[in-house]
């Protein structure tokens, strides 16, 4: 499976990751090797089979849409690098 540099950078961008120029060769090689190996799924006799999305029976689990308040606001915000007035602070998004 050949992966181009452009394709790798496009995927990295979708995943919100930057790759350094010197890392790219390595990532490309790893990705190709792993995809070549993973390609064996295409030899499996599975055309007639349905997909499985979870380990057990796939069923919806419903519950009432009730608000449960998490009391410890301070602990929640304690891990944020930047906050203000009990809120997470981010760079300006509207110009």
């Amino acid at each position: 499976m050949k992966v181009s540099k452009e394709e790798l950078l496009h995927i990295a961008n979708l995943a919100q990751l930057n790759l350094k120029e010197e890392e790219i060769g390595n990532y490309l090689q790893n990705l190709e090797e792993i995809l070549n190996f993973a390609n064996i799924v295409n030899n499996a006799p599975v055309d007639e089979l349905d997909i499985t999305i979870g380990a057990n029976e796939a069923k919806n689990v419903f519950r009432k849409d009730e608000v449960k308040v998490f009391e410890d606001n301070e602990a929640l915000l304690a891990n944020a690098v930047s906050k203000e007035l009990n809120m997470f602070k981010i760079p300006k998004v509207i110009q």
Binding site: I11, L17, N30, A38, N42, A44, T52, G54, F70, A75
Partner: protein, 489 residues
Amino acid sequence: MNIIDLTVNELQEKLKNKELTIKEITQAYVDRINEKEKDVEAFVTTLTDEALNKAEEIQKKIDEGEINGDLAGIPIGIKDNINTKGVKTTCSSKMLENFVSPYDATVMQKINSENMINLGKLNMDEFAMGSSTETSYFKTTKNPWDLNRVPGGSSGGSAAAVASGMVPWALGSDTGGSIRQPASFCGVVGLKPTYGLVSRYGLVAFASSLDQIGPITKDVKDAAILLNLIAGYDEKDTTSVNMEKKDYVKALTGDVKGLKIGVPKEFFGEGINEEVKNSLKEAINKYKELGAEVEEFSLNVAEYALATYYIIACAEASSNLGRFDGIRYTYRTSEFKDLKELFKKSRSEGFGDEVKRRIILGTYVLSSGYYDAYYKKAQKVRTMVMNEFNKGFEKYDVILTPTSPTVAFGIGEKSGNPLEMYLADICTVSINIAGVPGISIPCGVDSNGMPIGMQIVGNKFEEEKILNVAYTLEKEIKFREKYKPEFKK
């Protein structure tokens, strides 16, 4: 008597007979951590002072009759991807280096409600992605049997801490073998429960349809005791299964007469080390002597399952790890001009190499043009793997395989080649893909004195069977009496 050599069930007995106190036990473990941690490096965070204070507090409450219970005052170690309120939960990542959890995982609530004592948070591969604990941002844990070798992974800190006597038992998590393979490498017992038996609430998600929390212990009885505590339905985990509670200790009868054991020949082929095979063959002969019916059969899933595993696990990881954005509780880059740059730089600097590789692979197989060829195909192969296991369990009570194709390998031996590292999981991943339970127990050592692990796989929610099959062999081969880690330098 050396306290740190005792199993938890032996500690419980001695507490009951007043031969030991909670303080003595905790002190013995704290002393052992102070002695061995510098060589083994199993912990990300030690809680030794807190543990001694807690021991004092619990002893007082017991003396005053305020609490009782078999597990009160028993110490434990916790893998660092299980949220512990007020204590750092780092997933061995720079991304969560300073993250202090505001809440407890459901398994921690259970542990705390029994008044157990947390000795610390244990090292792991970053976000549980690895098979050697070498991808930890903080340190590489060493194998207590030979400090030049890896302890396995991703729960390498948990297995090494139990093997070296720094904790009497520990919790790990297993997505593709992360409890069983390190247990095998370190000569201890590791159980991955059926998917849905133990709540995943508060376990930092890697691949949600495969992750399970489970015990790593010195013996099988301890694994049953700890499973008794952590198993059970939890409304906070919608994939946890609501079923009647079982007593897994009661299942340990030591009798396997008439039990049908299937041995899949594909798990004993090329690529499996000869010494591993021979050790397993001896174990199989023991089972025959004990009256079990052993039969070879074909379970041709291992390679398909491994490819499927890396597609599905990485796809789920790429989605799960989207939450680490540099805003709310993670590492944040120091310089950025806008929100997009904040996200990208924080993630690129906060995640290690292997984590980024898997996110990229996961994003790739989910991206348009490749979704059908990889992800959808893998989901179909998952159905096939499940069907094959179902067929196996129509004929056999349990299935027996090696836990790992080799004993513990050297530090640095595979870290440069991701695909080679992935192949180390060939014996364990199909069990997660099928969602069935598996236990690894030590069954011997190789010519270098390194432990060899045997995996016993059961049908869904048949932990009782695999625990009893494991228990029966353990009693026969007496591994713990014969072999001990030597901390070889």
